[in-house]
């Protein structure tokens, strides 16, 4: 009997008993199921028997895990009493530990492996390396395109839907927060949609109400619009605006060429940032915030450029230089400002990106020749060597010069590569002219040239980002030595960028007109921003109605309407935060003569910023994960314009059983979610936490 008292024998017995209880449950369930009918009754019996078996398994297994914990505590030379405590603690925590191993850890590792294979359910998996990720991220083939579309959709929800949702929720919370009678009832009413919105039933009701022809909402809207000329104007303006915006967005999502408009955004961002940096002094908090924005945009942009360099392997090595030059500008700025933490983060981020590119170039794709690899390696060296150098030892002037040298070389190489030929032929003049003044684009009747060759020549001209990087780097260096010169650099830079923004916008309009004219002359329809052109061709007529769920121009607004309707949970979180704001603050502000707007922006908003931040993170993640709503509301025409990443995951994995690619999607999704959370926490300095 002595041997039975041995700890390890106990563990063994318990483990065997636990497994035995599961096997017994399985055997009994199979026996009962085969002798019972109908199917549903049999399956209910099976579920009950399995539940009993699982409970036995968990109890026995938990005690077993508890003993294992105790044994480990024994090896760690804990006292006898401590060992006992560990036994009880682990035994109680064991249901979660066992579940974690079976349902989270094991599957997560398995899916990491599946994502590297072409596994389809019922077939043997073949190892195919990063192929799944490449297809998904580069938008290759039908599946890659659909995944890209789902990412565009999520971006739309984050950009348009989440702010609208936050505003609705905050407005509701502020209404309910007033000290009036009956507010508890209204709070209840505002919250009801949340518990319903998760369910299929109410979504079907929405589908019914949103029917474009004779649906309740459209009938009501039309009746309201016809009652008064101003409401009629608003109604038509709403239709016009939504269709125009969504038409443009769906063109973008489809990859239609925007022509010179590609400059407008970087130029505008550059102009605003430079303008802000020219005002005030370095200690000014407003400017600090401006740099924060610059950092976020920069980080995201660099990340995207690196990813492009990673997935379009032999196509464009310029991306490495672009991403790298922006990263160097970031390092310089943070180094000069003496922000050590940010500096280290930027350096690490840059090196990881470069390492990723090099790994893929050297090991990932064996079909590449050394000639194709060389530009990547040289590019990585131009960026990587100064960055590495800047990481050793304290920040010094030598490091500034090294980094600045790398930055200048990178941008110069890019510039020569893209404009060297034109420079030789002295044709750079039209390029400069068109960038600044929007006059160089000669209307051409050649549709192919307009749609293919011309955008190609522009795409490489993303060197504008390089110019932004160069200016930021220059500012960083000027900061400590010549403060006055720095201000002038900033002002001149802002003016130049503003000119580029205006010029490229005007040229973009001309570009669209040229395509229009050319396609009309050729008598063939173009598919260039078709939806946008149709939507904005004329002011909506008398009988136009919002098409809601039956058109891809309206499907996303419909979804956003429903999320706004069910933003009661956010309201409750805002409400809890609002109740926590001390009335004394408002009283003091009133005494100082602050008006309502000032009190809202200077007291309420900063004081509830933790709740705002929490809601923001949750809402953006939820936008990526929407499933039920899309499943119920989609139609054949709108499914592509509605689908979220999770919905794509569902169709790819469970309709087409492509487990390998589905796993790839889920890991990309997990990566994006973690990235969003990290970025948001890293840049949540505007959040005011009361200590």
């Amino acid at each position: 009997m002595r041997i039975l008292q041995n700890r390890y024998v106990t563990i063994l017995w318990l483990a065997l008993a636990a497994i035995g209880s599961i096997l017994a449950a399985n055997a009994i369930a199979n026996l009962v199921v085969t002798t019972t009918s109908p199917v549903v009754t049999a399956e209910r019996y099976r579920a009950i028997i399995w539940s009993v078996g699982t409970i036995a398994f968990i109890i026995l297994g938990s005690v077993c895990v508890g003993h294992i914990g105790e044994a480990i505590a024994g090896w760690a030379k804990l006292s006898r009493a401590e060992q006992r405590k560990v036994f009880w603690g682990v035994t109680f925590a064991a249901p979660w530990i066992i579940g974690f191993v079976i349902f989270v850890l094991g599957p997560a590792l398995a899916s990491l492996y599946y994502s590297l294979t072409d596994y389809k359910l019922g077939e043997t998996p073949n190892f195919i390396g990063l192929e799944n990720y490449r297809i998904l991220l580069s938008g290759e083939g039908a599946h890659g395109r659909r995944f890209g579309q789902s990412m565009y959709n999520s971006f739309y929800y984050a950009l348009v839907g989440v702010p609208l949702q936050l505003i609705t929720a905050l407005a509701m919370a502020m209404l309910v927060n007033q000290a009036l009678r009956g507010m508890k009832l209204f709070r209840l009413i505002f919250y009801i949609p949340v518990i319903l919105a998760g369910g299929a039933a109410i979504l079907l009701a929405w589908r019914y109400m949103l029917a474009s022809n004779g649906g309740f909402i459209n009938v009501t809207l039309q009746a309201l619009a016809r009652s008064f000329f101003a409401t009629d104007f608003l109604y038509k303006g709403f239709i016009f605006g939504v269709e125009g915006f969504n038409g443009f967005y769906s063109g973008l999502a489809r990859g239609d060429q925007v022509g010179p408009l590609i400059y407008t955004l970087p130029a505008l961002i550059g102009a605003v940032l430079l303008f802000l940096s020219a005002r005030g002094d370095w200690e000014n908090s407003k400017r600090d915030r401006a740099w924060l924005v610059a950092e976020v945009i920069g980080m995201v942009l660099i990340f995207m450029l690196f990813v492009r360099a990673l997935i379009t392997t032999p196509v464009d090595w310029g991306m490495v230089l672009l991403a790298g030059s922006l990263a160097i500008a970031g390092i310089l700025l943070n180094g000069q400002r003496g922000k050590r933490g940010s500096l280290r983060a930027w350096q690490a981020f840059t090196l990881i990106g470069l390492l990723g590119v090099l790994l893929v170039i050297l090991l990932g794709d064996t079909t590449l020749s050394w000639e194709q690899r060389l530009p990547y390696i040289i590019g990585a060296a131009i960026i990587g060597v100064p960055v590495l150098f800047s990481m050793i030892g304290p920040w010094s002037r030598a490091k500034v010069y090294a980094l600045a040298g790398g930055l200048v070389i990178a941008v110069a190489v890019l510039f020569i590569r893209d404009f060297g030929a034109e420079f030789g032929q002295r044709t750079i003049v039209p390029v400069v002219k068109y960038v600044f003044l929007g006059t160089a684009l000669e209307p051409s009747a050649d549709l192919t040239w307009l749609l293919e060759s011309f955008p190609q020549s522009l795409a490489s001209a993303l060197w504008l980002w390089g110019a932004v990087a160069l200016l930021l780097g220059g500012l960083a260096i000027a900061n400590n030595r010549w403060p006055r010169a720095q201000r002038w650099v900033a002002i001149i830079g802002a003016v130049v960028f503003a000119l580029i923004a205006v010029g490229s916008f005007l040229d973009g309009v001309r570009y669209f007109q040229a395509i229009d004219a050319a396609s009309q002359a050729a008598g063939s329809p173009t598919y260039h921003f078709t939806l946008f052109r149709n939507a904005t061709a004329a002011w909506p007529g008398e009988n136009r109605v919002p098409l809601w769920l039956s058109s891809e121009l309206w499907s996303k607004p419909s979804l956003i309407l429903i999320t706004m309707w069910s933003s009661g949970a956010m309201m409750l979180i805002f409400l809890a935060a609002l109740k926590g704001v001390s009335q004394a603050l408002y009283e003091a502000a009133k005494v100082d003569g602050a008006n309502r707007t000032q009190r809202f922006f200077k007291i309420t908003l900063p004081m509830i910023s933790p709740a705002l931040f929490y809601n923001l993170v949750i809402a953006i993640i939820a936008a990526l994960q929407t499933f039920d709503t899309i499943y119920i509301l989609q139609t054949v025409d709108t499914v592509d314009s509605l689908q979220s990443a999770v919905f794509f995951l569902y169709t790819r994995t469970f309709r087409q059983l492509a487990i390998g690619q589905g796993s790839g999607v889920s890991w990309i999704l997990a990566g994006v979610i973690v990235l969003i959370t990290v970025i948001q926490f890293r840049y949540s300095k505007w959040v005011h936490y009361e200590v």
Binding site: G89, L188, F190, I192, V219, I573
Partner: protein, 308 residues
């Protein structure tokens, strides 16, 4: 925000000798807080209409005839309420089978999940053991991992176990304390129970299991109630998992049954039947919500303030 201090309950003319008792309209106005309040109420009522309308529309349609449901849709209520829509519904075998399936699955999930969460939260809050914090932070870390990361391999796992087209994939994982956020919520609550209670029980010779059952569980009732209602609503509404695993009309739960109806192609669409089944589906959730709304509101405010 702006009217917080208006309604202090003090008469505005305090200290002045009242001349005459104001008339009824004036007294009514004062009682509800003046013109600003009336304006606020107006906005609130309009907003309430927006929030409640889909529900009301659902109820109204469920009593219409098929002609009314597909006709001019500004009629909110039917001319004659068609109660037999509901009679017809409960005579339909596929409907009540799905309904009972839903109740069955929800009950099993609730029992398993709530009990196991209470056990695990107890270990993370009341028991002192070396390594507890490491395990606890590991658990919080799983909050970062989106459920979708394990959705696909779990499907493969259940496929290999031959569990597809059974209730097991939905009911069994619950027994393993699923839901880190809920464990966290209960743990935070259990931390607020005075330590002396456990100590007294230990002196009396109770073991941790007895302490859990006789002391902690009765005192944790509000937290347990909160997670129960959360889980109930979540499970009752859950569409994705039943859709993935049940794959057989006999096993459908209500969300899947209702979701199937969106694809009905017959014309005219029998909206009144669809809405009647929707009403039947929504009613339990609404009842539970009205009975337990305190827990909902506290629970959500709590998670928001603790995690944010």
């Amino acid at each position: 925000m702006t009217t917080v201090t208006r309604n202090t309950g003090l008469p505005l003319n305090e200290g002045v000798v009242p001349r005459k008792r104001p008339g009824l309209p004036r007294r009514f106005l004062n009682a509800i807080g003046g013109w600003t309040a009336i304006f606020t109420y107006l906005i609130m009522i309009l907003a309430s209409l927006f929030f409640l309308f889909p529900l009301a529309w659902m109820g109204g349609t469920s009593l219409k005839t098929i002609q009314e449901a597909n006709g001019s849709q500004l009629n909110f209520l039917p001319a004659i309420p068609q109660w037999e829509n509901y009679a017809k519904l409960f005579a339909d075998e596929t409907f009540y089978r799905s309904y009972i399936n839903s109740i069955f699955v929800t009950a099993l999930v609730l029992i398993g999940t709530v009990t196991s969460i209470a056990v695990v939260a107890y270990s993370f809050s009341r028991l002192q053991w070396k390594g507890r914090n490491a395990v606890f932070y590991l658990m919080l870390g799983t909050l970062m991992l989106p459920a979708q990361a394990t959705l696909v391999p779990q499907y493969v796992l259940f496929h290999n176990l031959d569990w597809i087209r059974t209730f097991n994939p939905i009911t069994i994982p619950g027994y393993f304390a699923g839901g880190a956020a809920l464990i966290f919520l209960v743990r935070q609550f259990m931390l607020t129970i005075p330590k002396e209670l456990d100590e007294a029980a230990i002196v009396d010779g109770a073991n941790p299991l007895q302490i859990w059952w006789y002391i902690i569980m009765p005192l944790s009732r509000p937290a347990i109630a909160t997670i129960t209602v959360f889980l109930f609503v979540g499970q009752w509404n859950n569409l994705l998992n039943p859709l993935l695993y049940l794959q057989k009309p006999e096993l459908y739960t209500m969300p899947v049954y209702i979701a199937q109806q969106r694809a009905i192609t017959e014309t005219p669409i029998p909206w009144q039947d669809i809405m009647a089944s929707s009403v039947a589906f929504v009613v339990p959730v609404l009842i539970v919500f009205f009975l337990t709304q305190r827990y909902f509101i506290e629970g959500i405010s709590f998670t928001g303030s603790k995690e944010g």
